[in-house]
């Protein structure tokens, strides 16, 4: 019964997304263009250094990293994340969720997952078109034995990514305007997740800063795992790190939600 309820909600969100599909396609295309120019940059650089490795990445590994990171970015990353929650709290539309048999958190998660599916489908198609248009050969540096581990890391990444922006959006219970905060998180996440280039290429100072943040578990760790670049002895700490961040944000969400609802008041009819 519960599963049927959620599937129905997912089907409704899918229909809604299909009405406004151009919006998602355009936004996703922007992320993919960035990926493409980054690819061109590194191919140029590898050509310059004569095919040697750069920052420990071979040409094939770098191209694979950028394509997979680009795919994850264009699927998960979108700038309006959490905006619907902020708007629902600000305009009092959240009240209806108190009497509905589905929580706002779950409903929003389903909506976002459906959105991700649409973006993923478009991204896969667009990546092949773009690579063909730019004459970039499809590389093969993926370690197939790492796919199960990658899937595990990726599921955790989806959870962390969702909860980071959901938590930020819930601040709307206390603040009338939270755009500045969600914007700052997005700016930080863009670079600190390793969406554009591998984090190993950054100066040691920045690498230490990014190590303290949860964003590397969203792109850098899953992609490097898939490329077989995470040594066996580092897998468990990385997995532990992902789980800990997920639990931290889950607890934070629970606290923020409970306190936020207590603080919330809606007027009008």
């Amino acid at each position: 019964m519960t599963l049927r309820k959620y599937l129905k909600v997912a089907a409704m969100h899918w229909e809604l997304r299909m009405v406004y599909r151009v919006n998602a396609i355009l936004e996703t295309s922007g992320n993919l263009l960035t990926m493409l120019v980054t690819l061109a940059l590194w191919l140029f650089a590898f050509h310059r250094v004569g095919g040697e490795s750069i920052g420990g990445y071979t040409e094939s590994q770098m191209v694979s990293y950028l394509i997979i990171a680009g795919l994850i970015t264009s699927t998960l990353w979108h700038t309006s994340q959490g905006d619907s929650i902020i708007s629902a709290i600000r305009h009092g539309r959240i009240s209806k969720y108190f009497v509905k048999p589905i929580s706002l958190t779950v409903n929003h998660f389903i909506a976002q997952t459906v959105d991700h599916l649409l973006r993923f489908a478009w991204s896969i198609l667009a990546i092949f078109v773009f690579l063909f248009a730019f004459g970039i050969p499809i590389p093969y540096a993926v370690d197939l034995s790492q796919i199960p581990l990658f899937c595990l890391f990726f599921i955790l990444a989806i959870g962390i990514q969702y909860l980071v922006f959901y938590n930020a959006a819930l601040l709307a219970f206390w603040m009338e305007e939270v755009w500045g905060i969600t914007f700052t998180i997005r700016v930080l996440a863009d670079i600190a997740a390793g969406a554009f280039i591998p984090l190993a290429l950054f100066a040691p100072f920045w690498q230490r800063v990014f190590d303290f943040l949860p964003f590397k578990y969203i792109i850098s760790i899953p992609v490097n795992t898939l490329l077989g670049r995470v040594p066996a002895h580092e897998v468990l700490p990385a997995l532990l790190g992902s789980v800990v961040w997920l639990i931290v944000f889950a607890i934070l969400t629970k606290i923020t939600w409970v306190r936020g609802v207590r603080h919330y008041s809606a007027v009008g009819g």
Binding site: V22, A24, G30, L33, T34, V37, T79, S80, M175, V187
Partner: protein
């Protein structure tokens, strides 16, 4: 003209009061803008600490590119950027656009500068200061700086023109944020030296649809790899595209029908 400056000043005053009402968000937004600049510089450093030179760009020269990108991004952000690419959609969707059209001022002006973002003005001054410092340290000739300023002006009008054309799509079909985000992503391609692209794309992005004007072209002029003739081409392009964009925008406006 003076009347428009007065209106701009009034809008600026009103927006300053409005935006600083939500102080935590306002200061976080400024922090976020500065942080993005710092992270982009760290990003460029990450590339050039591993590759000493890419298509004529080195670690010493790359700040010109990043800072130029941000100067233009902040200049656009202060005025037309969000107004045309995000807020116009909201006004049309909520049926509030009649309020703009009935005012006794140019609708292009009021639509483009209704909201003036102060969290872009403060980082703009910081970025300009850094840019001037780099220009002075590099002993850039005054004539080159003069040409650079002209190019920044031309780039502003080209970006304004593109934004006008894209925003006009909303008069036919409402697209929430997609067009705006695509515009931003394309503009930010200028964080990279676009000379690395294959020849076809290089010609397209430097001359046909000069997206590279949002960073690469003015920065190339500063480091001496963009000539005065090429500068002239960009200035002529800016005039043409802006005139075409305004005409196109008014033509699109005819398709507007008031709903609420």
């Amino acid at each position: 003209m003076r009347r428009y400056f007065r209106i701009f000043a009034v809008l600026a005053r009103y927006n300053f009061i409005h935006q600083t009402t939500y102080r935590p968000s306002f200061f976080f937004a400024i922090f976020g803008k500065v942080l993005r600049l710092v992270l982009f510089l760290a990003f460029a450093d990450a590339i050039f600490r591993n590759v000493p030179e890419i298509a004529g760009w080195t670690l010493e020269r790359i700040p010109f590119l990043i800072l130029t990108l941000f100067v233009l991004e902040f200049l656009a952000g202060v005025g037309f950027h969000r107004n045309l690419l995000f807020f116009l959609y909201e006004l049309l969707y909520e049926g509030k656009y009649d309020y703009i059209l009935t005012r006794p001022v140019s609708p292009v002006f009021l639509t483009s500068f209704r909201v003036i973002d102060f969290f872009d003005i403060l980082p703009l001054f910081g970025t300009l200061t850094m840019l001037i410092w780099y220009i002075v340290v590099a002993h850039t000739p005054l004539l080159t700086v003069f040409g650079y300023v002209i190019l920044i002006g031309a780039a502003y009008f080209i970006l304004f023109g593109f934004a006008l054309i894209l925003s006009a799509i909303n008069f036919w079909t409402l697209i929430q944020t997609g067009v705006g985000r695509l515009y931003e992503s394309i503009g930010r391609l200028n964080r990279f030296p676009l000379d690395v692209l294959p020849k076809f794309w290089r010609v397209a992005l430097f001359y046909v649809v000069p997206v590279a004007v949002a960073g690469n072209i003015p920065a190339k002029f500063l480091i001496g790899t963009w000539s005065w003739w090429q500068l002239l081409y960009i200035v002529v392009f800016a005039i043409v595209i802006f005139v075409v964009a305004v005409k196109f925008w008014y033509r699109a406006l005819r398709h507007y029908s008031s709903v609420a």
